[in-house]
Amino acid sequence: MSAAAIDAEREPEDVERTSYLRAGYSLRSWFFTTDHKRIAILYLFSISFFFAIGGIAAALIRLDLLTPGPDLLSNDGYNRAFSLHGIIMVWFFLIPSIPNTFGNFLIPLMIGARDLAFPRLNLLSWYIYIFAGLLTLLVVLGGGVDTGWTFYTPLTTMYANGMVVMAVVAVFISGFSTILTGLNFIVTIHKLRAPGMTWSRLPLFIWSHYAVSLIFVLATPVLAVTLLLLLAERVFGIGVFDPSLGGDPLLFQHLFWFYSHPAVYIMVLPALGVMSELITSAAHKQIFGYWFVAYASIAIAVIGFLVWGHHMFVSGQSIYASTVFSFLSLAVAVPSAIKVFNWTATLYKGDIDISAPLLFAMGFIVLFVAGGLTGLMLAMLAIDVHVHDTYFVVAHFHYIMVGGTVTAFFGALHYWWPKITGRMYNEMLARIAAITILVGFNLTFFPQYMLGYEGMPRRYHVYPPEFQVLHVLSSAGAGLLAVGYLMPLFYLVWSLFKGARASANPWGATGLEWTTSSPPPKHNFTEQPVVVRGPYHYPLKHPSSRDHA
């Protein structure tokens, strides 16, 4: 690792002069860049923008649900609010959140490459994402859609009157941005690894992004064709779902959920990859069971394609198919359980620095386990018959997507912030933010489990008065959660100007990305690094190994 070591000791002025952030200030250098690090920054800004819009829609929903009656929004207004909340959060924030920002930034760095395999394709994928995002903004301004993010037929094809066509076209286009990103990652991980970087020496972040890219490339096209069939029916009248002609609305649900369940694994797998990095770095210890955790990511990607029927247990699907899907849904929970057990074992006898990223990581594990196991409950046929399409399901997927992916996103943001910007953030404020987010989150979504089990259906704008107490609790929690999410905005931006200058390896971690300077130069490494050891080669036994990093 000698060449890389020189990178780490370069003087701050030299680092500052060659940093990728300094490699051009013009708009052209940012909007026509092919540097994967700059494209990651472009993605970071755009997904934060859409996170804000989706968050505003969520705030509207939570405020309206404070009272049983239609006080803030009309029936139709509420339906459009939750539809937009769903569409924007799923396709324009959650799916690109970790892969397109941290995946773009870190995959070349972690495998010792100068850039992704197809840099121009990477920029094209951002422009496609932005074009689709603008179309969605037009949908928002034009009044939104009243179909929910699931676009079920025949509601969307015959009875919905919102801007369904533009929303479907926007999602269809955003799918191509995902396919191109997945393709880029797969080819990069196969063909651009540094000499010596065998598959057994890949960091687990790369394994999980490889699994996510498999889902990107194999699931998104089926969403594209499903939306095409929907458009064909709504616009040209040549659809295959029309029940009056003998078509089957369940066919749409089969094709839609064949994409949409792997899509929820698209959202959670990168977070699992981030967790493996955060836990090993905080515990300063080799991951427990490397191969189990690595293959668990691939297993989640593969089995994730076999379980979509658990969304359709009460939809009139055949009971035998439901039994098969129920069984496979239990099988897909096993790899996730393996990962959680291995992280816990990694902390055992570690040399733990309780930093903000670790707080986010532990928060992630608690919420992900809670979400995952309620998912197991939903996979039980008889229980799903009772709680399907109720707030129990809403709480379940928010525990995994918000409690899981968004917490991991913030953990990753704090952990790699020094590497991305070259500045350290304020540690105490970050810990307060982490605690606020975790408390606010639980206050928001745990009451929804109870609401769900008592029979409060999803997407209800007017509800029976006996549920009001739990809704008020949930809305209060949402307020605290919003505060928790806004805090990083301030102290991270503050750290850009006033933050201490970060060293090349502030956490004493062992990834290749920590061997180059912070922020890294335009071509990542002054000299091609050569890999000689596994990813997490922390000295095992030494009591206070921290000062020998």
């Binding site: 092919t34 070349p108 490459a113 100068r114 850039d115 992704l116 395999a117 197809f118 840099p119 396919i179 997945g182 393709l183 880029n184 797969i186 080819v187 196969h190 063909k191 651009l192 490339v217 194999l218 699931a219 998104t220 096209p221 089926v222 594209a224 064709v225 499903t226 095409l228 069939l229 064909a232 029916e233 040209f236 009248g237 040549i238 659809g239 295959v240 029309d242 009056s244 002609l245 003998g246 078509g247 089957d248 066919l251 089969h254 094709l255 064949f258 091609q528």
Partner: protein, 210 residues
Amino acid sequence: MPEQRELHEPFHQRERQEEADRLGMLVFIGSEAMLFGGIFAAALALRLLHPHEFTSASAHMKLWHGTANTAVLLTSSLLAAIAVEAARGGRARWAGRALWGAAALGMLFLAIKAHEYWLEWREGVVPGPPNADFGSRFEQLFMNFYFVATGLHALHLTAGLVLLGITALNRRARHDRGAVLIGNVALYWHLVDLVWVFLYPTIYLAGAGR
């Protein structure tokens, strides 16, 4: 000295870069195959829901147009493969001719397809125009599926034609002994052929013998 494709940004060795380009194209082909996988899932569902009516609706299809189109596309696929072999063998002129041949057969496919659509328009089995009258309601659903599936395939075929044209005009691609660009375009063209190979029994052969 045969032209070398220029070495772009992150790659050090040209050979590794060619492998990457080909893998990238194959992964894209895989995603396009999944796109048509959705179409075949729809066909499977319709056939399992109404087996009897699916075959009787398919009996009305123009079997000879379909068969001719399959033969045309198989031959055009052959020409694309010949183009790749010629480029590898260094015979740039033959590569160009084979590419133009493949494109021409692609146009022929579209011509046959257009003629078939026109016949169906006249018979009034095209959903939409006023003179449309269908034997049964499921017949209209089958025609819907037929137009969506063959329309999507024709769209991809047109994109393939454009790619074939660009590669045929691209001098450097024809002289590239590694046949990277020609190889990738041929891969895409073979995918379009593969999809039709499976669409043919789904739409035409289902009701052929009745």
